[in-house]
């Protein structure tokens, strides 16, 4: 082969560079031509982030189309519950601007509030003084809290509405009406004794079901029992008081009696399994949020349609349940901030709230509970529970860690089937140590 032919066939440095540049330009141009530009929004765009939960099904099916009619273009992004807190917090803190609205779990509000990453919705005109709000629900949107103990760093700060209640979810009792034939059981003793009769008659496999997985899951199931036994979590100086006599009795009942009357595998049960147990006809009663309760009358999801009724949580001392509302916050980095705030104003207006109740979601304005035809049987019971008593979890930025520490000890006691009181003492020590290190007692 001659030198000329060689130089013709050999790739030169210059041609290699040229080819690289041309390739890059070509791929960019082709990409621009092939990938269509996003269609222009049909309305005011709002990107909503939510965690997957049955309680949001009516919102997706009925309220988003209504919002579209009202001129909003909703982009609804769902994630697993277990990853949303960290994902949204990172989004808000880094100013990534991926969302216009977060549908938070209410215990996360202090964490976002302390980090100062959410918009002041009161200043944006959301109607802080509107008497139609359900008091305990709107209170949960303020940081620092309007009442109750405050963490030291925010002792003198002015409470600001950083979140708006979105779904007034709270725990209520779901029970089998063919087992509890006299209506909702009033006490925990009745839940167990009547449940045992149901097991003996072959109607159910076990009287109760709950979540046993460590962390948020087990604490969620334990909390309403703890409240019904008269327990209080902290004193006004953030000293743990959940290891009081009432707290220990509730915990012993939970890891002992409740476990003995639940599925053998309850230690590993999360919301999926507890939902399957009640909707599959295995369990007699459950304390739960609206997510699974809303499925009770759907033959596609429930094997016991017509056999599940709702009631106020049973009491030992008080019939108090846990509030666990969906609550909406607008990040300061939201790309469509004005639209998000306008959407919230529309959504929380009395008219839309009436439609929310018609759709089967628990509203956040009292007037909406009075509509002629609520979308499901749970809504009037939710109001009864609100009036009987419902409390939020402690309003502190460190709640996730506190819940983790308590949840691990409770889960260990549940595995053993005893030692609920000792678990409370152990958890109280760990929580106290953690909060001391976080500067709570200075």
């Amino acid at each position: 082969m001659t030198d000329d032919k060689k130089s013709y066939l050999t790739t030169s440095r210059r041609s290699l560079l040229k080819a690289t540049v041309l390739l890059a330009l070509a791929s960019t141009s082709i990409g621009t031509l092939i990938i269509p530009a996003p269609a222009k929004a049909a309305g005011k765009k709002v990107i909503i982030g939510a965690f997957a939960d049955g309680g949001l099904t009516p919102f997706k099916q009925k309220i988003i189309p209504l919002a579209k009619e009202a001129g909003f273009d909703i982009d609804f992004l769902e994630d697993e519950y277990g990853v949303t807190l960290e994902k949204w917090f990172a989004d808000a803190q880094n100013g990534a601007g991926q969302y216009d609205l977060y549908l938070l779990d209410d215990p996360w509000v202090p964490q976002f509030g302390a980090a100062n990453v959410l918009e002041d919705l009161g200043a944006a005109g959301l109607g802080v003084d509107d008497k139609d709000w359900i008091g305990p629900l709107i209170d949960m949107g303020f940081w620092p809290p309007r009442s109750g103990p405050r963490v030291a760093a925010f002792k003198d700060a002015t409470p600001t509405l950083i979140c708006a209640p979105f779904i007034g979810d709270l725990q209520t009792l779901t029970y089998r009406n063919d087992v509890y034939t006299n209506g909702a059981p009033k006490t925990w003793d009745e839940v167990i004794s009547k449940g045992k009769e149901g097991v003996a008659s072959g109607k159910i496999k076990y009287p109760v079901v709950f979540r046993g997985v460590a962390g948020n899951s087990i604490v969620t199931s334990w909390y309403s029992i703890f409240l019904s036994f008269g327990g209080e979590f902290f004193d006004d100086k953030w000293n743990p008081t959940f290891n009081s006599e009432a707290g220990k009795a509730a915990s012993d009942f939970f890891v002992g009696t409740m476990k003995q009357n639940a599925s053998a595998g309850v230690v590993e049960f999360d919301s999926d399994q507890e939902g399957a147990a009640i909707l599959g006809g295995d369990a007699g009663a459950i304390i739960q949020y609206s997510g699974n309760a809303l499925k009770s009358d759907d033959p596609a999801q429930s094997k016991v349609v017509g056999k599940l009724d709702f009631g106020v949580v049973p009491k030992q001392v008080k019939a108090i349940s846990q509030l666990g509302i969906f609550i909406a916050g607008v990040p300061k980095s939201a790309p469509n901030k004005a639209n998000a705030i306008e959407f919230l104003k529309w959504y929380t207006s009395a008219d839309t709230q009436a439609k929310v109740a018609e759709a089967g979601m628990i509203p956040v304005k009292r007037s909406a509970f009075g509509i002629a035809k609520p979308g499901n049987r749970l809504i009037p019971v939710a109001l009864q529970q609100l009036d009987a008593g419902a409390l939020p979890r402690p309003r502190m930025p460190e709640w996730a860690k506190v819940e983790e520490l308590l949840g691990i000890e409770l889960n260990k006691a549940l595995q053993a089937g005893s030692g609920g009181g000792a678990a409370m003492d152990a958890a109280a020590n760990e929580v106290k140590e953690y909060l001391a290190q976080a500067g709570y007692y200075q």
Partner: protein, 311 residues
Amino acid sequence: MNPKGGILSMNPKGQILTKQRLQGAGLDLALPYLMLAPAVLVVLCVLVYPFWDGLRASVQAYRYGTAVGWAGLDNYVRLWSDDQFLNALWVSIRFVFLAVAIETVLGFALALFCLREFKGIRLLRTVLIIPMVITPVVVAILFRLIYASDAGMITALSVAIGGGQVQILGDPVNAFIGLVVLDVWEWTPLMFLILLAGLQSLPQEPFEAARVDGAGAWRSFVDLTLPMMRPVLAIAIVLRTIDAFGTFDQVFVLTRGGPGEATKLVSIYGYDTAFKFQQTGYASAMFVTVGLIVLAMALTAVRLLQKEAQE
């Protein structure tokens, strides 16, 4: 072309020739760097910067997700009085030791078996590496379906033969063993592949000589295969150990660290600390410490290898 590689010019005076030579020489010098630049940039962005940022975060105090000041070595000191961290470290060490040991033995046995040529061996080798190519999250979901006490496959089998519910994820010991089994199922193929490649590269002469001298299979294995495979085994074990310390996806999906803290590896505890509890500095100190422990282990293994090679 001239012998030195410059570009010949037609200009009789030589000026253009000089310019072209200079251009060519400049390009010669720059081209390797230009070609390396994208890779270096990527390494700087995804490896060096995050490591530096993590190191910096580990000596800072954080409050509500924001750095509020210098913490010195406080975060590192605090680690050794944190029962949750110490437990997570101990769980991680037990998990890595058990999983890697079983994977090595099984992987070696499979590699020795698949070294022989027989009908269907190619298919068998392919099938054996399938677990390794499945996404870890999918593997974890599959094992969750197998282990679930209410509707899992093991419980279904147990019920079918007259037994009851089998508690795996609800029992601390069983859940830990279940996690090790998952890891062994997924990563034994990696050991198998590395060790098979090592076995195939061994010289045949020593084995033939041993056979002529009357050595049996066991003697050949102990006196020839094992000593000659030692460097490959060491590299495979070091690689797998480093990887196993970083196990996250499977635990996150399968147990989330429970029951209690039975399967809470440092990776899970560190993740929660950083992202759920927003203690970025403390979590960074945790990961730097674990990184140093793993690095020390890897360096020790490499040193031992070098020492052995010198001897």
